[in-house]
Structures are given as structure tokens and as C-alpha cells.
């Protein structure tokens, strides 16, 4: 019986170590790869820091700056600024905007910078934040640089629908 007990103890040790080392190794690899390769988008300050060349395709994400949204005279082209509070980039987009697209809310766009440093987007996706509240209620956590004007704008947009 003693033999059986030690074998069970051995198995417990081997399986535990195998699982722990596998988890450790995988998580270390993911951390070593860093956020860049596994991240979906770059923020405006990343774009500035990396000095991304014009014409290079990438995803740009951030908050739509309050007061920056404008529709061009053709009625199809939109202009807005994407900010991460530290840096801001102008974006031009021709197409359909998602329902959640608002000033002061997150957005993920895909495209490339032109030679003037304007990001020409081919798609615009809206990014929701972690707040879920009824209309007219203050969200618990909000990004400081666009708040609280953004809240008023969002409320106005919601009640206007």
C-alpha cells in the first residue's frame, strides 16, 4: 500500500509541476512578445512615438475628441480627431458609421496616414467602454480628457434618436 501512496504523490507532483510550468512558460512568452504584436490597435501617442510612415497600413484607436466631428459638404465624408489625451490625430472617413459612434466615445479605425499626417480610414468601428447605465445617469468611470462635456453630448445624441 505504501508503494501506491508514493506513486500517487509522485503523480500529484509531476502533474502539478507540468501544469504550472506550462502556464508560466506561456504567460512569459506572451509578456515577452509585449503588447504591441498582440494589440489590436495603436493609440495616437504610439503613432507619434513610432513615427509611423505615411501609407503604412495600421489600426488607430482612441477617443473621438469632443467638438471635432464634422460632416463634409458631400454628406458622405466625415472628419474627426482621435485622441488618447496625450496626442491627437485627424481622421478622414467615407462610409457608414456604427450606431455607437459618438464624440467622447472610443473608436477603432483602420487605414493609413497620408503625407499631410491625416489618417485616411477605410473602416470605423465603435468601441464601447465598461459603463452600463440608464440614460441621464453619470457613468462610474470615464476617461478624464473628454469628460464631462462628452456625457452631455452623448445624452443629447441619445435623446435625439
Amino acid at each position: 500500500m505504501a508503494g501506491l501512496k508514493t506513486r500517487k504523490k509522485q503523480r500529484l507532483l509531476v502533474v502539478s509541476l507540468a501544469v504550472a510550468s506550462l502556464m508560466g512558460a506561456t504567460l512569459l512568452i506572451l509578456l515577452a512578445l509585449g503588447g504591441d504584436s498582440l494589440s489590436l490597435f495603436l493609440q495616437p501617442s504610439d503613432v507619434k512615438a513610432k513615427q509611423v510612415a505615411a501609407g503604412q497600413h495600421f489600426r488607430l484607436g482612441g477617443l473621438v475628441e469632443t467638438g471635432s466631428f464634422a460632416r463634409a459638404e458631400d454628406g458622405l465624408t466625415y472628419h474627426f480627431s482621435v485622441t488618447d489625451c496625450a496626442a491627437t490625430l485627424s481622421v478622414e472617413f467615407k462610409g457608414l458609421l456604427p450606431d455607437l459612434f459618438r464624440e467622447g466615445q472610443g473608436v477603432v479605425t483602420e487605414g493609413a496616414l497620408n503625407t499631410d499626417g491625416v489618417f485616411i480610414a477605410s473602416t470605423v468601428l465603435a468601441k464601447h467602454d465598461e459603463n452600463y447605465v440608464p440614460p441621464g445617469t453619470m457613468p462610474k468611470s470615464a476617461d478624464q480628457c473628454v469628460h464631462p462635456d462628452a456625457q452631455a453630448a452623448a445624452d443629447a445624441a441619445y435623446s435625439g434618436r
Binding site: 489590436l40 484607436g61 456604427p98 455607437l100 452623448a154
Partner: protein, 248 residues
């Protein structure tokens, strides 16, 4: 230790728990759906589409919870060779696979109108899809091998390897930039969901949990019966062989 002593005990315990779990599933589902569809406010940004969350988030939680159950069962099966543990993993897998699939599909149905796309290969969506394939792989390994002991061991190893995906799912939204929103409920500074919306969310989550207990216990009993049948079949096969040898 008799091979079936524990399963008999398990069956007795299951029969005590089951009526309560069935009652709770019905009760919590009715209450949860009432709050989810009628008695909760729309969201200040998402409008009525926020109601998708009440079936999406509980399904996603359950997908991860059932995976942990399956992994714990696999660990017990590998270390202590407990036959019931092996069957527990086998019983849990299809339930977890369905929950994960529902999390993915309902998420896509919310993403299309809100984000503007059904799918994007960000850290969260991709890691949940990996979890779905881990479930499929686990079930496929059970099917692939004739010898149940071997099949169970191979499937259990896969389940344990896949455990690494659980923290990746949870923290993907913090480690990398994703389209999926960050955590709203399980965060250090408390939920960022309004109380009126937490009620249907928790009711639905509790309903899903009770549902899991019901289906899991039924499937455990099913797997125990299947194991009994295959043992009996082997025994009668050996019986026939000895009879034939005696006759010959």
C-alpha cells in the same frame, strides 16, 4: 475499494440535489427573463441592445467556469485515477462548449449594430474562440480512441494544457488593446454597471449556474450508466469465451 461503491453514492446524492436544481433553474430563468426584457432600463449609449448582455455575459462566465470544472476533474483523474472524475470531465465538456458557442454568437449579434462588425481578431474574441476549440478537441479525443482509459487520459491532458487560456481570456482586455470592452463587473474598484442592470445580469447568471447543475448531474448519471454497460458487455464477452473454451 469496490468500483461502483462511489457511483452509487453519487447517484443518491444527485437524486437529492436534482429536484432543487430543476426548481431553481425554472424560477431564476423566469425572474431573470422578466428583468432582462421588461423591468430594466435601456443603456445611455447602447439603447435596447444592452439586453443582449444578459444572455451574453452569463454564457461567457459559464464557458470559463465549466472549463475550470472540466480541468479540475481532469487533474483529479490523472493524479488519483478516480473513475468518477474522468466521467465528470466528459459530462461537463458539451455543456461548456454550448455556453462558449452562445457567448461567441450573442457577442457577434451585439457587435454588429454596436461596433459595426460581427467579428474582429482581438485578444478577447480570439482567446474565447480558442476555448471553444479546446472543448471540441477534448470531446474529439474521447471519440478518437477505442480504449476509454487511454482516451480519457489524452483528453484530460489536453484539458489541463488549455487551462493557460483562462487567465488569457480574463486579462486579454487589460494586457492588449482590444475592441472588446474591459471588465465591468469583476474589477478591483467595483462594478461599473448600474444596479438596475446588475439585477437581471446576476439573475440570469444564477439561472445558467442552476441549469448547469441539472444538465451536469444528468450527464454524469448517463456516463456512469454507459460505463456500467461497457463493463457488463466485457464481462459477458469473457464469459462466452470461457464457455466456448470449456465446450471446445
Amino acid at each position: 475499494m469496490h468500483r461502483f461503491a462511489n457511483p452509487a453514492q453519487f447517484n443518491r446524492l444527485a437524486d437529492v440535489v436534482l429536484p432543487w436544481a430543476i426548481g431553481l433553474t425554472v424560477l431564476l430563468s423566469v425572474a431573470g427573463l422578466y428583468y432582462a426584457l421588461f423591468s430594466s432600463p435601456p443603456d445611455y449609449q447602447q439603447g435596447e441592445s444592452v439586453r443582449v448582455m444578459y444572455v451574453h455575459v452569463p454564457a461567457a462566465w459559464m464557458g470559463m467556469f465549466v472549463y475550470m470544472v472540466m480541468a479540475a476533474a481532469s487533474f483529479t483523474a490523472l493524479v488519483w485515477r478516480h473513475p468518477l472524475a474522468l466521467l465528470a470531465g466528459k459530462a461537463a465538456a458539451p455543456i461548456g462548449a454550448i455556453f462558449t458557442a452562445l457567448a461567441l454568437i450573442t457577442g457577434m449579434l451585439w457587435g454588429k449594430p454596436m461596433w459595426g462588425t460581427y467579428w474582429v481578431w482581438d485578444g478577447r474574441l480570439t482567446s474565447v474562440l480558442v476555448q471553444f476549440f479546446l472543448y471540441l478537441g477534448y470531446m474529439a479525443l474521447w471519440q478518437a480512441m477505442e480504449d476509454e482509459e487511454k482516451a480519457g487520459r489524452a483528453a484530460s491532458i489536453l484539458a489541463l494544457v488549455g487551462v493557460v487560456n483562462i487567465p488569457i481570456i480574463k486579462f486579454s482586455v487589460d494586457w492588449w488593446s482590444t475592441l472588446h470592452q474591459p471588465a465591468s463587473v469583476m474589477r478591483l474598484d467595483g462594478p461599473t454597471i448600474d444596479g438596475a442592470m446588475l439585477v437581471p445580469l446576476f439573475l440570469m447568471a444564477a439561472a445558467y449556474q442552476a441549469y448547469f447543475v441539472v444538465v451536469f448531474l444528468w450527464r454524469m448519471k448517463l456516463e456512469i450508466n454507459n460505463r456500467k454497460l461497457s463493463v457488463m458487455r466485457q464481462a459477458s464477452l469473457q464469459n462466452t469465451e470461457t464457455q466456448m473454451e470449456v465446450a471446445g
